[in-house]
């Protein structure tokens, strides 16, 4: 089910008892866009938002996690887009990147997104504390996925809640 940021409440699918504040998703959206604009000089568009069970991986996509005590973020990029973004970070145009360099670059991007996102949501007192269901749920039970497009290619970022 794709959800719209303008809907209120933002997320409350039947299998996901807690809500997520609109500002949390906006913070993640802004952090993602800011990092890619700054580091890769590319514009990003939000395509949609979806709630689902946390998925550990996406086949044939590059995925790297940045995790702290409370949250986990997962960035899923098609390899071609990852190559383009990392090349842009380097100001280079050569299309061939080593796997190590690509992995390193995507890890840096997700670290920056996680840092910017954490900073933004630290001022939101209601972060993930709504209707009380969360503490009883097993960790990593649910996730929200934000779908974006950059350079004409789709990518997504998952927030475990």
């Amino acid at each position: 089910m794709l959800l719209n940021l303008s809907q209120q409440p933002i997320l409350q699918p039947q299998e996901m008892p807690q809500m997520i504040d609109r500002a949390v998703l906006k913070a993640l959206q802004d952090a993602t866009m800011d990092v890619l604009r700054c580091m890769c000089d590319t514009s990003v568009r939000l395509q949609g938002i979806q709630a689902q069970h946390w998925a550990g991986d996406f086949k044939s996509l590059l995925e790297i996690n940045a995790q702290d005590d409370e949250q986990a973020l997962s960035l899923s990029l098609p390899l071609e887009l990852a190559n383009r973004l990392i090349n842009r970070m380097l100001g280079a145009t050569h299309p061939i990147l080593s796997a190590e360099k690509r992995q390193d670059g995507v890890q840096e991007l997700i670290n920056m997104i996680a840092g910017a996102f954490s900073h933004s949501v630290s001022s939101l007192p209601q972060l993930l504390t709504l209707p009380g269901a969360l503490p009883e749920m097993p960790k990593a039970a649910h996730a929200v996925i934000l779908f974006f497009e950059a350079e004409g290619k789709p990518f997504s970022i998952q927030l475990r809640v």
């Binding site: 800011d34 580091m39 380097l90 390193d104 840092g115 954490s118 900073h119």
Partner: protein, 122 residues
Amino acid sequence: MKILAVDDSPLMREVIRKAVELLGYEFFEAANGQEALNLLKEQAIDIVTMDWNMPILDGYETVQVIRNNPTFAHLKILMLSSRDGEMYREKALNAGANHYMSKPFRQESLMEQLMSLERKAS
């Protein structure tokens, strides 16, 4: 002007190298704080860009070590970190960093900071 980029990410060191070379400065690199301290003994570095999270010796600890050594009193330190927020900025500055920039940053912003630190160094 000699610039040392300390970051465990080879890619970020390359990003910093681009900015340094555009400014016409000489570039050196280290993958962690310990490597940086070793290199500082060998080269007359003027400015250090320091990542925060690194293995072996992190950026915060490295800044403290540098500031406890009078030999490096002239050194200008630019902390570059994904840790965003006033708390981290204050912590870095209190440890002895001259400036704090959070990642992400634009290349032009990094170049401006390096030029600003160059003016202070000279």
